[in-house]
């Protein structure tokens, strides 16, 4: 029960955060591509204590049929937390939070997908959070980009995401759960480097205009770092099996 004993001031002591990070440091990230058998594409991502599995099916026949679009693929996305992924058991039915996050993640990935190549089909993204520790929507997006590439879905770019927040009055990168709960602001950002564009942007808490400007820059800079890790993870996967590109699939 460390949280109940912490106060907001404890989050930053001598420039050091609860888990020993500096203000502008990401948590350790581990990415693995092609981890499931049945899915067309998949990835597993660990981001701090977040453990997330992503599967992609498609392009496949849209089901039910009336969701098919004449000019592009229908993108569906489900962000879902396992009952055991959080401190208190979460009932299996999707919560309002999960439903909203499913929507914003879909809208974070759609700009990157060349969905017009596959009219009348459906591309389904399933994100299962096995353990959650703050920043799971960003980690889910990072994993989903990899799983889409692994499924061979043609993409304009990979989407990379991370959050910037504010703890004890200071900007801080990549908040953990306890930092998010005791902190003053959190701003998840998803970013496509090739377009210098955000595809997801949310924020809650309190930011001055200057804090926002600095925070956005910090987020973008670290999305770029994560983008490199994603490319590296894909390279690892595909060099091993014979050098196919990210969007070439299998």
């Amino acid at each position: 029960m460390p949280m109940s004993q912490l106060s907001p001031e404890d989050l930053l002591r001598n420039g050091m955060r609860v888990d020993g990070r500096r203000w502008n440091e990401l948590r350790p990230i581990k990415m693995e591509v092609g981890v499931l058998d049945k899915a067309d594409g998949s990835a597993y991502i660990e981001h701090g204590k977040n453990k997330i599995l992503v599967a992609v099916y498609g392009p496949r026949e849209a089901h039910p049929k009336h969701i098919a679009l004449p000019d592009r693929a229908t993108i569906k996305c489900r962000y879902h937390m396992a009952p055991f992924s959080v401190d208190e058991r979460k009932p299996p039915a999707p919560s309002r939070r999960e439903i909203e996050i499913s929507k914003v993640i879909r809208e974070a990935l759609e700009p990157a997908i060349l969905s017009e190549y596959y009219p009348r089909t459906s591309i389904d993204i399933f994100i299962e959070v096995l353990q959650s520790d703050g920043g799971s929507r960003c980690a889910g997006i990072n994993g989903a980009s990899l799983a889409l590439a692994d499924a061979g879905i043609p993409m304009r770019d990979l989407v990379a995401a991370c959050a910037v927040g504010k703890i004890a009055g200071q900007l801080a990168l990549d908040l953990s759960d306890v930092e998010d709960k005791l902190g003053e602001a959190d701003m998840p950002v998803a970013y496509m480097p090739t377009y210098d564009s955000v595809t997801l942007l949310q924020m809650d808490g309190s930011f001055t205009h200057d804090e926002f400007m600095a925070g956005l820059e910090l987020a973008v800079e670290n999305c770029k770092r994560i983008y490199q890790m994603q490319k590296e993870a894909l390279r690892r996967q595909y060099l091993e099996v014979g050098g196919e590109g990210a969007s070439a699939g299998r």
């Binding site: 809208e107 700009p111 210098d196 955000v198 949310q202 809650d204 808490g205 309190s206 205009h209």
Partner: protein, 254 residues
């Protein structure tokens, strides 16, 4: 739109303007009806005595719910809330909650036991675009119009007294949504504009000019440059919009 004019004649950054009527549902503690162009939203606020959440035992409870009733638009369907109504409710909720608009600490009656529960129900009646801003304005107006009963707490029992006082308010957030259409940014998109926009950005600004909520929506992306521009515009415009909202409901006059 190349000429800087929109289909309905507005300039790119012109707002349709809110038409607000507050205190129209006598059975609710607070209420407001907002028209934004042809968009119509009603918000009712009910305040009941309930239990505080275990993790914040010394605070009242605020809950925001939105219904896109099928009356409002041919494609809205009856049934449990879908992702659109949930997003709408949660974005409005964040604006209210993060700005600390309602002073929840003052709504605790007996810590751990009894607190006021504030239900904010958004009811979208006619959909002509920009439901978020219309709903946020209606929710703010309804909360500003809300009266709650005085109470006596004795031996763990609460009795409500007939006398009422205003809901304790400590901030007034203002919400503005921008849409990216073609290469342009427009404020307060109409339904027609939403149907062709590539993305939207909603910005909520509190009374001190701080951001308290952001939400990007839509299937497209938005450049960092555009994001910066929207946020800057929102912070500049917020005071004027807040002023017109307060004037419309006569807040602070009575």
């Amino acid at each position: 739109m190349a000429s800087g004019k929109r289909l309905d004649g507005r300039g790119l950054l012109d707002h349709r303007g809110f038409d607000i009527r507050a205190r129209i549902i006598e059975k609710a503690n607070g209420s407001a009806h907002v028209s934004l162009g042809k968009t119509k939203v009603m918000v009712g606020v009910k305040v009941e005595v309930g239990k505080p959440f275990p993790d914040v035992p010394d605070q009242g409870v605020l809950t925001v719910n939105a219904e896109l009733v099928p009356m409002a638009y041919p494609l809205f369907e009856p049934g449990p809330p879908d992702e659109n109504s949930i997003e709408l409710a949660r974005v409005v909720d964040r604006g209210i909650r993060e700005s600390k608009m309602v002073d929840l600490k003052k709504l605790c009656i007996i810590p751990n036991e009894k607190a006021f529960v504030v239900f904010v129900d958004i009811y979208v009646l006619d959909h002509d675009g920009n439901l978020i801003d219309a709903s946020a304005a209606a929710a703010a107006a309804a909360l500003l119009s809300t009266m709650i009963n005085k109470f006596e707490a004795r031996d763990g029992e609460v009795s409500l007294l007939p006398e009422t006082i205003p809901l304790p308010i400590s901030n007034i957030p203002v919400t503005m949504t921008f849409a990216k259409i073609g290469g342009q940014i427009v404020l307060d998109p109409s339904l027609e504009e939403e149907q062709v926009m590539s993305s939207r950005l909603t910005v909520t600004v509190d009374k001190d000019g701080r951001l308290c909520a952001l939400q990007k929506g839509g299937m497209g992306h938005m450049t960092i440059r555009d994001v910066r521009e929207c946020v800057k515009l929102a912070i500049e415009r917020a005071p004027q919009l807040r002023k017109s909202l307060l004037e419309a409901i006569g807040y602070g006059k009575d």
